[in-house]
Assembly symmetry: C2
Homo-oligomer: 373 residues x 2
C-alpha cells in the first residue's frame, strides 16, 4: 500500500487515537492538521516557515492547480513537491469542492462535472478518472476521490441521487487509481442525515482503500449539529485506516472530532483569519486591528512560543495591520499555524497520556472564555 497507517495508542477515556502515517515523503504523526496550500503555497508564509513550524504535511487544491499553472507544467517540472520545494507529504483534494464553490455554470452529469474557470471563463470537464490522473501527475502522497458535495439545503431526493452517483464515481476513481506512490482516500457524504451517512459509509468503505474521509461538514450547519453527527459517523469508519474530516474547523471542532476518532484535518480558518488580523490564542481570540492593542507591549499570546510571539508586541502587529504592511500577514499566519500545530501536538501528547478528555475540555473552556478583544 502506498501509505502505511500505524495506530499505536488509544486514549483510555475517549475514542481519540494516536498513530503515524508513513508516506513516501516522511512520517506524519496523527492526529494532524494540514495547512492549506491552495496554489502551491500556503498563503503569506514560505516553505522555510512551514518547516520551522513543524508542519509534516500540507494540502494542495487540484482545482486551482489544474487551471493555473496546470498539472502538465507541474509534472514537467518534477511534480508538486519539487515545483513548490516541499519535500514533506502533500495531500491533494479532488477539485470537486471548488467546482461547486468557485466555478461558474457547472453542470453535473454521470460522466463528471463540467464548468467554467473562475479565472478566465474557459470550459473544463472534471471526471473521476481525470481527477485521479491529475492528482497522480501532481505526485500527491494522498489523493482524494472525486465526489459531489451537495448543497446543504438539498432535498432528500437529490441527496440520495447524489450519494449514489458519488459511490459510482468512487468506484471509477478506484479503477483509475494506479496504486503508485499516492494513496487514494474515499469520501463519505450525506449531510446531517444519519441514515444517509450510515448507508454511504457502507457503500464507500466497501471499496478497499488506504483511508476514508468525511466530507460535507462545516458547510452551514451549527457546530453542535456537526459535532453530534461526526460523533456518530466517525466510529463507523474502519478502525485501521486514517479518518479525515475535510475542511474543519475551529480549535473546538478539531479537539471534539479527535474525541470521536478523527485523525486528519485541513482548514483555511487559521490562515484566512490571520490575514484579517484575527489570532487564535490560548486565552481565546484576539483582533489585532483593534485600537485597544495600540500601546500594548505584550506578545499576542504570552503562553505561545512561535516566532511572532517571541519577537513582536501587539502594538507592533497592530501598527503593521493599520499601515497595511505585508509583514503583518506573515507574522499573523505564522502564529495561527503554530497555534493549530501546537494544538495537535498537545492532543497527541494527551492521548498518549490517556488524558485526552481533560485536554479537550480545557481547550473548550479557554475558547469560550474570552470574546475577541
Amino acid at each position: 500500500m502506498s501509505v502505511r497507517f500505524e495506530l499505536f495508542h488509544a486514549d483510555g477515556g475517549t475514542r481519540a487515537r494516536r498513530g503515524r502515517l508513513h508516506t513516501a515523503h516522511g512520517t506524519v504523526e496523527t492526529p494532524f492538521f494540514m495547512p492549506v496550500g491552495t496554489q502551491a503555497t500556503v498563503k503569506a508564509v514560505g516553505q522555510d516557515d512551514l518547516r520551522s513550524l513543524g508542519a509534516e504535511i500540507v494540502l494542495g487544491n487540484t482545482y486551482h492547480l489544474m487551471l493555473r499553472p496546470g498539472e502538465e507544467l507541474i509534472a514537467e517540472l518534477g511534480g508538486l513537491h519539487r515545483f513548490m520545494a516541499w519535500d514533506r507529504a502533500i495531500l491533494t483534494d479532488s477539485g470537486g469542492f471548488q467546482v461547486y464553490s468557485l466555478a461558474q455554470n457547472r453542470k453535473i452529469t454521470e460522466e463528471g462535472a463540467s464548468f467554467q474557470s473562475h479565472l478566465d471563463g474557459s470550459r473544463w470537464l472534471l471526471t473521476p478518472e481525470r481527477s485521479v490522473a491529475i492528482q497522480e501527475r501532481l505526485g500527491a502522497d494522498i489523493l482524494m476521490a472525486f465526489d459531489e458535495c451537495p448543497p446543504s439545503k438539498a432535498d432528500r431526493g437529490y441527496l440520495e441521487q447524489s450519494l449514489a452517483r458519488t459511490t459510482r464515481w468512487l468506484r471509477r476513481c478506484a479503477a483509475a487509481w494506479t496504486r503508485g506512490a499516492g494513496a487514494l482516500f474515499g469520501i463519505v457524504q450525506g449531510g446531517l442525515d444519519l441514515g444517509l451517512r450510515r448507508r454511504h459509509v457502507d457503500e464507500v468503505c466497501a471499496v478497499e482503500l488506504p483511508g476514508y474521509a468525511l466530507g460535507g461538514y462545516s458547510v452551514g450547519e451549527s457546530p453542535e449539529e456537526m459535532h453530534a453527527s461526526v460523533a456518530e459517523v466517525a466510529p463507523l469508519l474502519p478502525a485501521d485506516r486514517p479518518r479525515y474530516l475535510m475542511g474543519v474547523g475551529t480549535p473546538v471542532d478539531l479537539v471534539t472530532a479527535i474525541e470521536a476518532g478523527i485523525d486528519m484535518f485541513d482548514c483555511v480558518l487559521p490562515t484566512r483569519c490571520a490575514r484579517n488580523g484575527l489570532l487564535f490564542t490560548t486565552e481565546g481570540r484576539l483582533n489585532l486591528r483593534n485600537a485597544t492593542h495600540a500601546r500594548d507591549p505584550r506578545p499576542p499570546d504570552p503562553a505561545c512560543a512561535c516566532y511572532t510571539c517571541r519577537t513582536h508586541s501587539r502594538a507592533y502587529l497592530r501598527h503593521l495591520f493599520a499601515a497595511d504592511e505585508l509583514l503583518a500577514l506573515r507574522l499573523a499566519t505564522l502564529h495561527n499555524l503554530h497555534h493549530y500545530l501546537e494544538l495537535m501536538r498537545g492532543a497527541r501528547a494527551a492521548i498518549e497520556a490517556d488524558r485526552y478528555g481533560a485536554f479537550a475540555a480545557e481547550v473548550r473552556r479557554r475558547e469560550s472564555g474570552r470574546a475577541p478583544a
Copy 2:
C-alpha cells in the same frame, strides 16, 4: 561622538574607501547599503529575514512614523529598535523629502514646513528642532538634518534661497541635537550646479558633525549627470567622516559612487522592483512576470546564494506572481536585497584587495549585458 567612523583602507586605484561605522547598535562595515524600512518594516520581509541577509543597518522614515503610529507611541514602547524588534543600527531621515514628495498643501517658511498628512489631511508642522527631537525620540543611531530638497527644475534664484535656508536649518538642527546616542549628519544640496554644490559643501561642512550626506540626486536627472556630479562633489566632503549618497540607486549607481568615495546608500529600488517581479541578477535584470519563465527550472540567478535562488525555480516564482500570491513578494524581495548586500560585500572585498576599479567595471558590464527577460 555618538558614532565612530574608522577608515582602514583606501583602494589603490580609485577613491573607494573601506571602513567601519561603530554605533550603539553594532558595527556596520562600509561601504554599505541600507534596506528601506519606511513604516518600521522593510516591505515584504521580516526582521528574521533581514538578519539572515546580513543587513547591519536599516532606514526608517520620520515622516511616516510621526504620522503613524507617532513617535510618542514608539518612544513609550522603548524606541524604534525595540518597537520593530531590530537590535542592529537604524538611520532615520529627517522627514523633509517625504514632506515634498507625499504631503499635501505644503508651505515652506523660515520656521519650517507646514503640510497636510497624505493619510488623513491633518495639519502638521515640521521644523529643524522638531525633526531632530522626533528622530531622537525614535532612538535612531544616525539622524539626518532637516533640509529642503528643491524641485529639480527650480530656477537658480530659488535654489540659492533654498540652500541658504537649508544651511540655517542645519545650524538649528545642530543646536537642537542633544549629542546623545544618535549621530546627526548634515546634508548638502545644490542640484546639478557644481558651483552651488561646492558652496553648500563649504557651508554644511563648516558645521562640525559626525557625517555628511549628498541629497537632491536621483530626482530626475540622467545617471550620467548624477555620476559626473557625485564624482566632483563627494571628494570635497571631509575624508574622515562617512559620506552618504541619499536615495541612490541602481547597482551601477552604487559602484560608481563608491568609486568617488561614497560610503553609505539607501534606496527603495531593490524592494520596490521586487514587488513588481523585477529581479537584479549577476546576469542583468529578470522580469518574473514574463511568460518565458513559465517552464524554466533554473533559479532566478544561478550564481546567487540567497534563500530564493537556493530553493525555488523561475517557473515557481513566475507562477506565484501570476497567481498574486503573497509569497512572491517576500521571495523576490529576499533575492533583491541579497543581491544589493552581496554587491556591497563584493565592493568591500575589492577595495581591500586594491582591485576596486576592475570590480566596478565588471558590475557595469554585467548590468549593461542583458535586457530584462
